[in-house]
């Protein structure tokens, strides 16, 4: 067993770190305050391949692996969690559904532009009345000749403000419930699809997150992913992989905040000494770094298991549960170490603390993670 990254992975990490420090860090505060993602930055990330990391060259991806993607999520999220989720929803939710369940034709038509950096994708599962209870869906798709007519609405759809391609889920027969849940690829300009303004939020405010309304949207049957009725399985499989991304994002948020705190405690003097000289500060930082490392190793374990085609779903749930809690604890602790300054917007730790909260909620709440984990423990 070897816990070291390979040379190629170290170089991947170096790329993401340099890019995030030079290109994202200077924009993060402004994007948060204006609640607007910088589209030039997005285009740069597309150009360097950040939106197709674990996908095959055959379809235009970078041909790297899930561990590289996790390294990207961490380094990017150290500077800006909004940038992290923008890449993550596109990569591990939208693209994975098409990559894993799409036909050759669907992959050529939809996956290629998504992973070669020309288009952006989003994923619509959550509804106003179906969050953790994803089976309580109301959106319906009614067959009409060679098409389906989709009606309903999806809430909190990340990236939907600017996405081109929507992977979404609808029931073909409400009476059958989840058994009829079907995955569709919908294009932004299909008539009847409307996207609301961004939903005002506490954190990850630069990311786009809107209500998407489907009012009799006519979608060709050729755009069904997998088979009719396979939607729930497709949705859950995507979320399994997505959780590795969120775990890595959480590790990034935590490490980013800790790095800021370390810089601060060396400079800040109180009682005649830098506050780094106090053992309370040192112990606090030691505890936080240890927890972050544990979360990082759990995240890497899940990513490597996925790369090795092993069953990773429980590892991913454990990594997300741990990392998201660590992110919340660490960012809160870092604000405390920065004291009054930590509470101001002059320093990024308050943003990181606000950004951290969502990691315990999206792509499966901590409670849902516990359902997944306990479900594997043969308790019943």
């Amino acid at each position: 067993m070897d816990f070291k990254l390979s040379k190629a992975h170290l170089l991947q990490q170096e790329l993401y770190r340099r890019f995030a420090e030079n290109e994202i860090r200077p924009l993060a505060r402004e994007m948060d305050e204006t609640e607007q993602y910088n589209m030039e930055l997005l285009a740069k990330m597309q150009k360097y391949g950040f939106f197709g990391i674990p996908y095959s060259r055959e379809y235009g991806g970078a041909g790297a692996d899930y561990l590289s993607y996790a390294l990207c999520m961490e380094e990017i999220s150290k500077q800006d969690a909004s940038s992290g989720i923008t890449i993550s929803v596109h990569t591990s939710l939208c693209c994975s559904c098409i990559n894993d369940f799409g036909t050759e034709e669907q992959k050529r038509k939809y996956l290629t532009p998504l992973i070669n950096g020309s288009k952006i994708g989003c994923y619509g599962l959550t509804e106003p009345n179906a969050g953790s209870d994803a089976a309580g869906q109301q959106t319906v798709a009614v067959r009409d000749g060679d098409d389906y007519i989709i009606t309903g609405s999806k809430v909190f759809t990340t990236n939907s403000g600017f996405a081109d391609t929507f992977v979404m889920f609808a029931l073909t027969d409400r009476a059958l419930g989840t058994k009829s849940m079907t995955a569709f690829i919908v294009e932004r300009d299909m008539p009847g699809l409307t996207v609301s303004a961004d939903i005002p939020r506490m954190g990850i405010r630069a990311a786009s997150n809107c209500v998407v309304t489907y009012d009799h949207v006519r979608v060709p049957a050729a755009n069904v992913l997998g088979k009719e009725g396979q939607g729930f399985k497709i949705a859950m499989k995507a979320l399994d992989g997505g959780r590795i991304g969120i775990a890595a994002q959480s590790v990034g948020i935590a490490q980013g905040a800790l790095n800021e705190a370390i810089k601060y405690v060396k400079e800040r003097k109180q009682f005649g000494r830098p506050i780094a000289a106090f053992q309370n500060t040192q112990f606090k930082l030691a505890e936080m770094q240890t927890k972050i490392d544990a979360a990082r190793l759990m995240t890497w374990r899940a990513a490597v298991a996925k790369d090795n085609h092993e069953n990773y779903s429980v590892y991913a749930a454990m990594a997300k549960l741990t990392a998201s809690e660590v992110a919340n604890e660490v960012t809160r602790g870092c604000v405390q170490l920065l004291g009054g300054y930590g509470f101001t917007r002059e320093y990024p730790v308050e943003r990181m603390m606000r950004d951290a909260k969502i990691t315990e909620i999206y792509e499966g709440t901590s409670e849902v993670m516990k359902i997944v984990i306990s479900g594997s423990m043969k308790l019943k």
Binding site: A8, L11, F50, A62, G63, S68
Partner: protein, 262 residues
């Protein structure tokens, strides 16, 4: 056009320190990077290739650890990488280094050679020009702009108070200033490719037919470093306090004029 870019792996300057006892560079835990001017040269080469076609080969003389610098250059988009490495080459000064790189370049062939202006660890700016002398080809140093015109280059050379526009026929060598081009990042796919490619290693045996062993390595170097030491600040400086902004400006200006600095 076959472009060859010579790069050097150097310690990241912001963190370089000398061991106070031995006065040698502390390398432990200091990250290594591609020398910045050399990276500019890589970017210029990639842009020329994008414009007129051809290939970009990156060459680095150094220890086996320099492999990562070559992988980074490949990940930026270079086609081939060559590591020039061998114990016989250790301790080479700029003359010996240029001798070895000259032999390397004759072996691999080139239309255009690009080096950085100078390395941040030695600051000599000698290796590029010396390679051109070794190869007997024209050189333009301090290049701030390059434009390809058929089999010639038009190079904008920076001088203290003016620019020179020089037209030079290939094969030739230019040394790149950081103003020449803002280096691109590696790409994600580029890193995957970089580790699927082979870095060719050339040692003494590969180059010996074209190398005089008396002119390489520590023994073959006409210059030797006798001592290196950290500069000591001579005085603590003058502190002016309690002045208004205008008074402070006047006081500083007076000092600068007094010392004939301005």
């Amino acid at each position: 056009m076959k472009i060859v870019v010579c790069i050097k792996q150097v310690p990241d300057t912001a963190e370089v320190r000398l061991d106070p006892k031995t006065n040698t560079l502390i390398r432990d835990g200091v990250p290594s990077i591609i020398n910045h001017d050399d990276k500019t040269g890589l970017e210029a080469a990639l842009r020329i290739r994008e414009q007129v076609g051809g290939s970009v080969t990156v060459v680095c003389m150094g220890p086996p650890q320099a492999d990562v610098a070559l992988r980074e250059a490949l990940a930026m988009g270079c086609d081939e990488a060559v590591l020039v490495s061998g114990r016989e080459f250790g301790g080479s000064d700029t003359y010996a280094t240029a001798t070895i790189l000259g032999a390397t370049l004759r072996k691999i062939g080139f239309d255009l050679v690009i080096t950085g202006r100078q390395a941040i660890d030695g600051d000599t700016a000698q290796v590029g020009p010396q390679i051109a002398e070794q190869l007997g080809i024209p050189q333009v140093s301090y290049a701030e702009g390059v434009e390809v015109q058929g089999d010639s280059l038009v190079v904008k050379r920076q001088f203290e108070d003016q620019y020179h526009l020089l037209k030079v026929k290939t094969p030739c060598l230019i040394t790149a200033l950081s103003e020449l081009a803002e280096p691109r990042y590696m790409s994600v796919g580029g890193i995957v490719d970089a580790y699927n490619k082979e870095v060719k290693i050339l040692g003494f045996d590969d180059l010996k037919d074209d190398l005089n062993p008396a002119w390489i390595g520590l023994a073959g170097s006409p210059t030797n470093v006798r001592q290196s030491f950290t500069k000591q600040a001579k005085t603590s400086g003058t502190v002016l306090s309690g002045l208004s902004a205008d008074e402070a400006v006047d006081a500083i200006m007076a000092k600068l004029i007094e010392r004939h600095i301005i």
